[in-house]
Amino acid sequence: MATLPMYASESARAASASESRYRITVPIAPARNARVIALDARSAAVARRISDGPWANARFYTCEATRGRRRADEVLLHGIDGVPAALDDMLRGTDVVVVIATDDSGGALAAAIGSACSARAITTAGVVLGDGFEADDAVAALRPHARVLLLSADESDAFELLRALRV
């Protein structure tokens, strides 16, 4: 019977730089089918700018500002190219939705979108750009649903989040 090599510590050897060379290297296929929804006019401009990025499966949408509660089936989105899309259709096959807000005008939409995502077990992330105070309602509406809320003054955080998620 062959004898297996014994080492004083597998951990020390396994964690060495030389052993790192033997890690399996295969292309990592994008695993996310992301949808990015801009809730207001300024965030729509952000979405348009970052939609030109090197995304595999990400799709970008805007929605019209609205006041008052909205049901999910009342939310009408537009692709960046202007083509209308129903929220229900847009969420089909999606596993992560990133919502971008800059003010409170999209608060009602945030609640409807967040609720629809929760019902479909879709991970939701919110990126709230600005000083945070202008989007209190949007933050409050997203809070129950968004696994993560990123409150930032830096527009590039939206891009970096998407890139880190390999969408």
């Binding site: 020390a12 396994a14 730089a17 990592i28 930032s152 998620l165």
Partner: protein, 428 residues
């Protein structure tokens, strides 16, 4: 994931690198004060930001941190004789003071001015709290001394330890702002660690294993809020501050002391983890201090006479699969500190972040990397002073609170996350 060039930018801290220059804008821990316990005590080798240095405390109690190697023939001054207000190389007797100035070259003529022209690179070394801090940047830009609360409360209220971690500083630091691993990796500790157990907040931690996160800019870095369900209509929030470049605090539990870390690059493949515990409003009890010395809480049990943990990669971290099966530990490794270190070191000396698959819950890490990258580039290209240099940024605290569901942790905890001398931390 992170592009390879950005991973290299963030993980390389040697002289002349963007992150190295960033770290050189701050006072950073160089060694514990206990390592130089008295005047003329033996010198100590210190490697920081990929520079080999020697620390000593001269006959007059002055601290020095100078180039490790004698200017003459390059012998290590670790062998030096610390005597007569200077460190003398035992090879040919050249002697240096705490500023690195050569003050004696015995082979030269008496009254020769030769040694006046010989000076080793030296950095200031100043005791604040239990730590000797150094500043390795441009002397003209030297900031005020650090004002982190743990280093300023009375001695009987604070305790600091350190341990060698065998990986790049960034993967160690990233553990400090990653609240989502606590419920899994440290679940055993929440039940049994004398510095953690018994807090009401632990129950929320254990009941709700899928926290929600909010990540927000602060003046000095970030606040990362982790939210779990508490009683009806309320959330349990754990708020972790990060002050750039490498100071993090762990949210407190009950009336236990509050703790945190400073993650300091030794070189690109090793770092020091400084771990502190303090109570803002009362002395540590004898039992608490002993628990810290024994390696509980965020501290580690080190090999006597060293700062290497007893459980380390050379003994497979003393992993105990039976304890893992019994549920005493989640990973089989004992102790909060080594549970973290074992996994971070297992990634390799510098983890290849191009292969990561991050999820939205990693947003704190994503944002921190972004802030570090931007600050390093702004410093390099425009000379912009980075966040965290201003000592006002140091006066932060972690907090653990229960809030009504509608409330923002940022709005409700403005006072809780400020370090206010003598005021207890906000904790559940």
């Amino acid at each position: 994931m992170l592009r390879q060039d950005i991973n290299e930018l963030l993980t390389q801290t040697g002289p002349g690198t963007p992150m190295g220059d960033l770290f050189r804008q701050y006072w950073i821990p160089a060694l514990l004060a206990e390592e130089l316990p008295e005047n003329d005590s033996p010198p100590v080798r210190v490697k920081l930001l990929s520079e080999r240095l020697i620390a000593f405390r001269d006959s007059d109690g002055r601290y020095g941190l100078i180039d490790e190697f004698c200017a003459h023939r390059g012998a290590s001054l670790w062998f030096g004789r610390n005597e007569g207000s200077g460190l003398r190389c035992p090879y040919h007797g050249w002697k240096y003071d705490v500023t690195g100035q050569c003050v004696e070259v015995p082979s030269e003529a008496d009254n020769s001015s030769f040694c006046e022209n010989v000076k080793l690179r030296a950095y200031p070394l100043v005791k604040v709290g239990d730590i000797l801090w150094t500043y390795m940047g441009d002397p003209a830009k030297r900031p005020d001394l650090p004002e982190y609360e743990f280093a300023h409360v009375p001695q009987e209220q604070t305790y600091t330890s350190k341990r060698w971690q065998q990986c790049n500083w960034l993967q160690a630091f990233e553990g400090g702002i990653d609240s989502s691993h606590v419920t899994f990796l440290h679940s055993g500790g929440l039940k049994s660690d004398p510095l953690f157990k018994g807090a009401k907040g632990n129950e929320y931690n254990m009941k709700d294993t899928k926290p929600f996160f909010e990540v927000a800019d602060s003046e000095g870095g970030l606040f990362v809020g982790a939210r779990r369900n508490a009683e009806e209509g309320t959330y349990y929030w754990r708020i972790t501050p990060w002050v750039m470049p490498a100071f993090t605090m762990v949210p407190p539990r009950g009336d236990h002391p509050v703790h945190g870390h400073f993650w300091v690059p030794i070189d690109d493949e090793n770092c020091w983890t400084y771990s502190f515990d303090y109570h803002p409003a009362r002395p540590l009890t004898a039992a608490e201090r002993q628990a810290m010395i024994d390696g509980h809480g965020v501290h580690s049990k080190n090999i006597p006479g060293t700062y290497r943990p007893v459980a380390n990669m050379d003994n497979d971290y003393l992993i105990d699969r039976e304890a893992q099966k019994r549920g005493e530990t989640y990973s089989g490794v004992a102790g909060i500190a080594m549970q973290d270190a074992s996994l971070q070191e297992s990634m390799g000396p510098i983890v290849d972040r191009t292969k990561e698959r991050l999820v939205p819950a990693d947003s704190g890490i994503i944002k921190a990397r972004q802030k570090l990258r931007k600050a390093a580039i702004a410093l390099r290209d425009e000379g912009v002073t980075p966040p965290g240099v201003d000592t006002a940024h140091h006066r932060v605290r972690s907090a653990a609170v229960v809030l009504p569901q509608a409330e923002s942790f940022l709005d409700s905890c403005r006072d809780a996350v400020k370090a206010t001398p003598g005021v207890p931390h906000s904790s559940v």
